[in-house]
Symmetry: C2
Subunit: 214 residues, 2 copies
DNA sequence: TAACAAAGCATTTTTGAGATTTTTGCGCTT
DNA sequence: AAGCGCAAAAATCTCAAAAATGCTTTGTTA
């Protein structure tokens, strides 16, 4: 699409929980942080609002959606449906290059996750983890021939992650077995076992949901 | 969401094929037609671009996506997956009010479609048909408890319809058996037959795809 | 003391103009 | 005649300021 730096940066902030649930976005402050004008900031708000990641309250500015357990559960279902459907086609079209890229993405993810696990407190690694987690799942689906399926998976993933961090803010979103679950997905994918991969993805998302919703 | 009149009007134009595939949108002309400023027009472009219904080419304005057969096929698949998944849950939660609303929506749709069938040339009822077709499918899913599933179905439906009219413009998108297919969906839904309803929806979308793609 | 109203303040939205970029048209060269 | 290059024109994007709206506070009255 486009690689608008402030646009990407703000989206990463939203997906990393830098802003609380229902918190209103202040154009002036964010504009100064990104060194752009308030109008350019507003354009980014408009676009993100069109993507469903921000809510525009008429004459009252923009705010992030509030963390709703039901919404999180619905997005989890949706993500499972779409990601499982796409990974099936991705595995059907797998090749050596894909295996290499997926292994590399998992290597990075595992490294960050082990650091996150050891650190105890999330700290400032969360944005990094948000990115590498996305890159892993994106790489997983990269050989799925349907661009639309991949595109909507991305939208749903972003929406899903925002909802997760809106529900639990900084703590607890990183489940205890996440590392093992990602490894299970990798193993099944490399082995070309579609059913095992679907199960691994479903469990991965379901466990996070259960963990977040207590 | 919001009931911005110019916003809705432009979206309906896009979904009705008032603008050709790849055609660039001229802010000044559209702004005058809707009696708003060029900046307000641009805000609507931004939002629609965020929804994926418009494409922004840097420093070259906005344009509608071009009609790509592969994209249409992908969106057809996606629509079938999501709409079938949602209709299953909708039927599980059906009640008398839903049956009444669905019958009413189908009645309107059948009336418009018979006029469209008789008229031969689409003419100016295409926007009307676009709306009642959407209202029928929306009503069909209205008792599905997952708001996210319904929301993403709407996005995909809008994207799908834009792609259809971008591919075939004004002629041919209205298949010969569309009336019978909608009636089959209605009958199966009222009867509570999930499997028959899924089949009817799948055939409905598949036949349109085959008809459009020759 | 509580409730209502009006004025002041802060924020958002819109407007209009300036600056940068792309496109178009014309003349020149090969 | 075709292709290249430069200049003019059109369009887009960005920016800063004005207008409109919502929120807060203060003052008055019951």
């Amino acid at each position: 699409m486009r690689e608008d730096s402030p646009y990407q940066a703000l989206k990463l902030m939203l997906m990393s929980g830098a802003l609380g649930a229902g918190e209103k976005l202040q154009p002036a402050i964010l504009a100064e942080r990104f060194s752009i004008s308030a109008s350019a900031m507003r354009e980014i708000f408009l676009r993100l609002s069109g993507e469903g990641l921000l809510i525009q309250k008429e004459q009252r500015g923009f705010c992030v959606g509030l963390g709703d357990p039901a919404t999180l559960a619905e997005l989890s279902d949706l993500r499972i449906i779409v990601e499982c459907g796409a990974v099936e086609k991705a595995i059907e079209n797998k090749d050596l290059d894909w295996e290499a890229r997926l292994t590399a993405a998992h290597h990075k993810l595992a490294h960050v996750e082990s650091r996150l696990h050891a650190a105890g407190t999330p700290g400032d690694i969360v944005p990094l983890w948000t990115r590498v987690d996305w890159e892993f799942h994106e790489t997983l689906l990269s050989t799925c021939p349907s661009r639309m399926l991949r595109a909507y998976h991305r939208k749903i993933y972003e929406h899903y992650r925002m909802q997760v961090v809106a529900t639990v803010r900084h703590a607890g979103f990183f489940g205890p077995d996440t590392i093992a679950q990602h490894e299970a997905i990798l193993t099944a994918a490399i082995a070309g076992d579609v059913e095992a991969c679907r199960r691994a993805i479903g469990q991965h998302v379901d466990i996070v949901r259960a963990h977040v919703l207590d």
